[in-house]
Symmetry: C2
């Protein structure tokens, strides 16, 4: 186990609160009420300047006056008092703190200055803290709740960490109504000290937590995030929602927690690289996170569909196949066994549709057991199990027949005796869809027994897709660390020359020489300074060949008469040489190489994003690149193994295999190309951007046919 500060912070024996009093409408008091009322067995030490007791607990006039060193300091005070109080707790020996108070880095320069002071004082005393501008924590294993809302739903196995405090407070009743229980929930606020990566690491190590979800507005240390996540995700599912990717989302995140946001596609790649399953709604973050925590992992993709009505059955089957799962038709043998519980002619082939049949035992127990026993499915989704919810909804119509008030009628109902969650004994995922919630006794049994219930067939099917995503993550290769290598001498010289001359970019030829020095396959080209030289080179290269202008100020050549392809003779080469000079409007060097032929063109590159770092790009290339918009990103550096995975993330991934008579791409070579590109920004801080477009697949081999390397130097002119 690591020295993660949250192990200590989440498990205090004593908590000192400052800012809590006896007015229950004040925030500070609300937090303290949660500590006193929700079952925490440790000691509360309220610090209060006047009151002798707070919430019935003896209070102390100052931190210094506390009878022992509290394990945890909990501050809900005006922002200008926070630093002083942290100093006092530091002197007292307290090593963990939660700072609820807002008004720090999220509020501009004055707040940032205070946050800096806060960091200094906590460093001085070795205090690790959550916040400021957070909502506290919930640790259900010790019944500790420090948020402002009651949490009394018992311990769960779903871990949650959030850059929004609301998602661990305003939503608690929402979660309870869906049977979702936290193991631990952590609001990280501005993350001045403990951040969301610490929370991820902690929840990964926590045995009570079986799956976890992260709400993210910005990550500060991309490489640490990946390392921590990769150590967790093969064992434990991690979901994340990121909302900083759009203009308004980023603006909002900045003012909310002071987070730096990066474009959405970079986070797509970050999460892929980390093995984290990305979702786009808080609903999915909660519900699928909890589902992954309570359900067993999936071992195959064949799903049985069972329903008491056709629409939801069709919808589940359709959604499952959209999600990459299979809904196999059952064997005659299995259908025969199922049929004994069904109306005549009702479909048994998968989906199994009992039609409007209220035989709960068959729907919830007998048929699911047959399906799970058969070996023909790896999990089931089930719609329509219901009892009291349905009776309550129908009560207005039958009350005259039974002449009993609803409560009395329900109390008199015999227990069904059905242990509906016993279908979990097969160790395969079981997911339920229902239009009823916990007002139904069946639904309550399911949720409390670890079978999540979704309020639509499509969401239940979506849960299976999530389990499948996690299966894919489990089966990945482990992370291979990539160290920044020493740059090759030739590459260093090229960069040094540019730096010395203040040149902002390399020309095409220089860019390719630079890439070649890094082991990236480029066209073997020569440069001609005159027609005579060009004609001599042409004879040496042979035909067909390519001629292109190559100059540092010519960044884009397409459609300008500066590229002449597939020249088949000396005559054509001569004509082209002259045409290029004319198109350029001046004497330009011409590069010449053997024509590279291939119908598959990709693009690869490097971008640097402030606050995020360098990323590798790969996608469909050529002159239509922008229109095709089929590119994926991953944080750099990237091992060859991860690069190989990345290649298959593009929409047009079928191009990588054998395709219409073309051989499969040498994906090892392509992955190596991306890996090598990815280490360049580590070795050369001066490299701002690299654009390799196209990378043509000739036969099965990738060749960089055009390239541009841009430096982050101020241009001299």
């Amino acid at each position: 186990m690591s020295s993660n500060p949250l192990h200590r912070l989440l498990n205090p024996k004593s908590i000192a609160t400052v800012g809590s009093g006896n007015n229950f409408m004040k925030m500070g008091t609300m937090h303290a009420i949660s500590i006193t009322k929700d079952g925490f067995a440790g000691t509360l030490y309220p610090v209060h300047p006047r009151d002798k007791s707070v919430l019935g607990v003896p209070a102390f006039p100052s931190v210094e006056a506390l009878p022992e060193t509290p394990d945890l300091a909990f501050l809900v005070v005006p922002s200008d008092q926070v630093v002083r109080l942290m100093e006092e707790f530091g002197k007292k020996g307290t090593k963990s703190a939660i700072i609820i108070t807002a008004g720090f880095a999220e509020m501009g320069s004055e707040g940032s200055r205070m946050q800096q002071e806060l960091n200094e004082v906590s460093a001085k005393y070795g205090i690790r803290f959550l916040g400021p501008n957070c909502m506290g924590i919930i640790n259900t294993s010790i019944s500790l709740n420090t948020t402002v809302m009651p949490y009394t739903y018992g311990p769960g196995s779903f871990g949650f960490a959030s850059q929004s405090g609301t998602y661990v407070t305003q939503s608690i009743a929402y979660l309870a109504a869906r049977g979702i229980r936290f193991s631990k929930a952590i609001s990280v606020g501005n993350s001045a000290n403990i951040d969301i990566i610490d929370a991820l690491e902690y929840l990964g190590e926590d045995d009570q937590t079986k799956a976890l979800s992260l709400y993210i507005e910005g990550i500060r240390d991309v490489q640490r995030f990946i390392e921590v996540a990769r150590a967790i995700t093969p064992r434990k599912p991690v979901l994340a929602q990121y909302v900083g990717g759009t203009g308004a989302g980023a603006r909002s995140g900045m003012s909310h927690t002071g987070s730096m946001a990066a474009p959405d596609h970079l986070y797509d790649g970050l999460f892929r690289q980390a093995g984290i399953i990305r979702v786009h709604t808080i609903e999915d973050l909660y519900n699928y996170g909890n589902m992954l925590a309570v359900q067993p992992p999936m071992t195959g993709k064949r799903i049985g569909v069972l329903t008491n009505s056709g629409g939801p059955g069709s919808a589940m089957a359709d959604s499952l196949e959209r999600g990459g799962l299979e809904v196999p038709e059952f064997s005659e043998e299995l259908q025969g066994k199922i049929r004994q519980y069904m109306q005549p002619h009702a479909p048994c082939g998968n989906p199994v549709d009992m039609t409007f049949d209220l035989n709960l035992e068959a729907l919830a127990m007998q048929i699911p057991s047959l399906m799970l026993e058969s070996g023909e499915v790896d999990g089931i989704v089930l719609h329509g199990a219901m009892r009291t919810g349905w009776l309550k909804a129908g009560y207005p119509h039958f009350k005259d027949f039974i002449n009993k008030p609803l409560d009395e009628f329900l109390a008199a109902l015999p227990d069904t005796g059905l242990d509906v969650v016993s279908v979990m004994r097969y160790g395969k995922p079981v997911i339920v869809s229902s239009f009823f919630g916990r007002e139904d006794d069946c639904i309550e049994k399911y949720e409390d027994g670890g079978i999540p219930v979704f309020d639509s067939p499509e969401k239940a099917a979506g849960a299976m897709a999530m389990l499948l995503r996690h299966k894919e993550v489990r089966e990945r290769l482990p992370l291979k660390r990539v160290e920044a290598p020493a740059p090759p001498v030739e590459a260093n010289e090229i960069v040094a020359g540019c730096v010395a001359r203040g040149e902002k970019n390399l020309d095409e030829h220089g860019s390719k020489q630079f890439l070649r020095a890094w082991g990236i396959p480029v066209t073997a080209e020569r440069t001609a300074g005159s027609e005579k030289e060009a004609m001599a080179l042409a004879e040496g290269i042979g035909y067909p060949l390519v001629m292109k202008a190559s100059a540092r100020d010519i960044l884009h050549k397409t459609g300008k008469g500066l590229i002449h392809l597939d020249l088949k003779s000396a005559d054509e080469a001569a004509v082209s040489y002259r045409a290029i000079q004319e198109a350029a409007g001046r004497q330009v060097p011409v590069i010449m190489y053997r024509m590279v032929k291939g119908d598959r063109e990709f693009v690869a590159g490097i971008v640097r994003t402030p606050g995020f770092g360098p990323s590798v790009m790969f996608g469909m290339g050529g002159i239509l690149t922008e229109a095709l918009d089929d590119a994926v990103f991953r944080p750099a550096p990237l091992s060859e193994e991860d690069a190989a995975e990345m290649i298959l993330d593009i929409r047009s991934r079928t191009l990588i295999g054998p395709f219409r008579g073309m051989p499969a791409v040498n994906s090892g070579a392509l992955a190596r190309l991306l890996h090598r590109l990815s280490i360049i920004p580590l070795a050369h801080p001066e490299v701002q951007e690299i654009d390799v477009n196209p990378v043509i697949i000739e036969g099965s081999e990738p060749v960089a046919v055009d390239a541009l390397v841009i430096f982050n130097l101020p241009a001299k002119k």
Copy 2:
């Protein structure tokens, strides 16, 4: 108003039920209880063989014995009695029926035979009926509910028609819990007589219905569906969910309602063509359908975001921009006005984040009014308005302070006096997000006043995207009817020749001649039967030119040495001629045409699908077509106007405009090409499939460069 049979069926003055009795656990009785108990003011005539009264209403021993002709017959009887009863109702003069009974076409051949008899007897007497295998209807304008569950939530403006009965029964309590009220709901079952298109037409004409949703497992008459929908969708939003597109979904739909399913992408095109907004979940179908019914249409895409907590604000802003909406930064003036209601430093720029501030009046009234008055937004989304829901959730913590039971405490709460729905007076969409439901008095006020409340920020933002989709539909050109034209003489001759010879397809040259006869621009090509002929033709055509094998048995030429492009001289032409003969392994005719140059390649085509009819296809073309997977479909025929719209449905639509130095595509010419393709299957029933790939854009003009026409004739060999 049309003669749509549902006008009569949904508005009966009297209903005769057969199959209802006095055992409230029987389906037939449950349906009848709904008729008697939920407010219907008309007359019920139970037909019962023995009982003198049913549910306290005088019963009659036979249909014949009824004292008057009932407006509506309602049957819940064994399937073998349905035809006889319909005969009796026919004789009695009843013209509308609802047949709940299952066991017809969805159950195989015996059921299909009975359904046929049912059709015959109803035709004989002019009876129009819903079902069989349906769940009945709800007409809230006359408080008529014929489903098995209570519906007592009053009249709404949301129309619903469904091929699944569950979605108008099992889900009624689900809908009530979300404040969703039907205008009319129609379960069409097997649609043996009245079908979902009739239901669409009816709901389109119904004044009470302001928006409507369709749950679809298969449409039988694509052209009628489009015509009916196009007459409605510019006025009234229509949503649809289709679940028959996958293998298991189709299998399930077939057994469920006997529907023929077609591939998913065809339904995508059908809905686009119809102006129907497609959704993929029953949740969206209900919630967004109701939202569109109660909210005013959107007039612009600038959205204001207001929240009492940062996470939901960021999530709403992010989701809005993903959905195509704008979250503009507010003017200094507006920010100044808003700031007076905010904590110091809290963000006012949009999103407006009040932070954890419980000033409900500012959140629900004052700030929204400032935003809507300002002219700076076209609608707002709002998160966090809450009162009793929040107090109930927090009650366990503060009950000791107030010393009152919850009920008493809530009863003693003063009304806020806030008319939270008055913000609708600006006539702009207002959507609310909340983690609380109708247990909160604010949420109840919103929902009952026509402001939908979604249980996550992302869904609230998604509602705005739906309003924007409807705005786009409203702004479309009206449907232009396309009639099947008389085929051109030359085209007719080509087809007649093939039919006579039993040829299953045309060769490339023949295919292009056929398309040219239909006015589609193709390469101007000649055919050479010998090298000598080829050389003579080459001189006439000029260079660069193209040579290709063209033979009926050569369907795919790529990668086989049968296509030689960009031949620049007589020498190259001669070499190529011989190479083609060698690659073919026999003497083949060679077509020759001037090389068509262009970097933009599209694909166009025609496919016929059983039960769906012909469709036009358009997409990114060339040899990478399959890998790019960027194609869209529309049912044929297609007007030029609709074709122009279809062209912009591909993902790579930026290619249609000016692109990297290339001029904009002549989209009129491209639309004309698709329109002309689309009428071919109407004129030639023998044409099974047409594949035009590539259509190269030369300059700005589309030219069909390769083509294949396939007939639906049995191959002779």
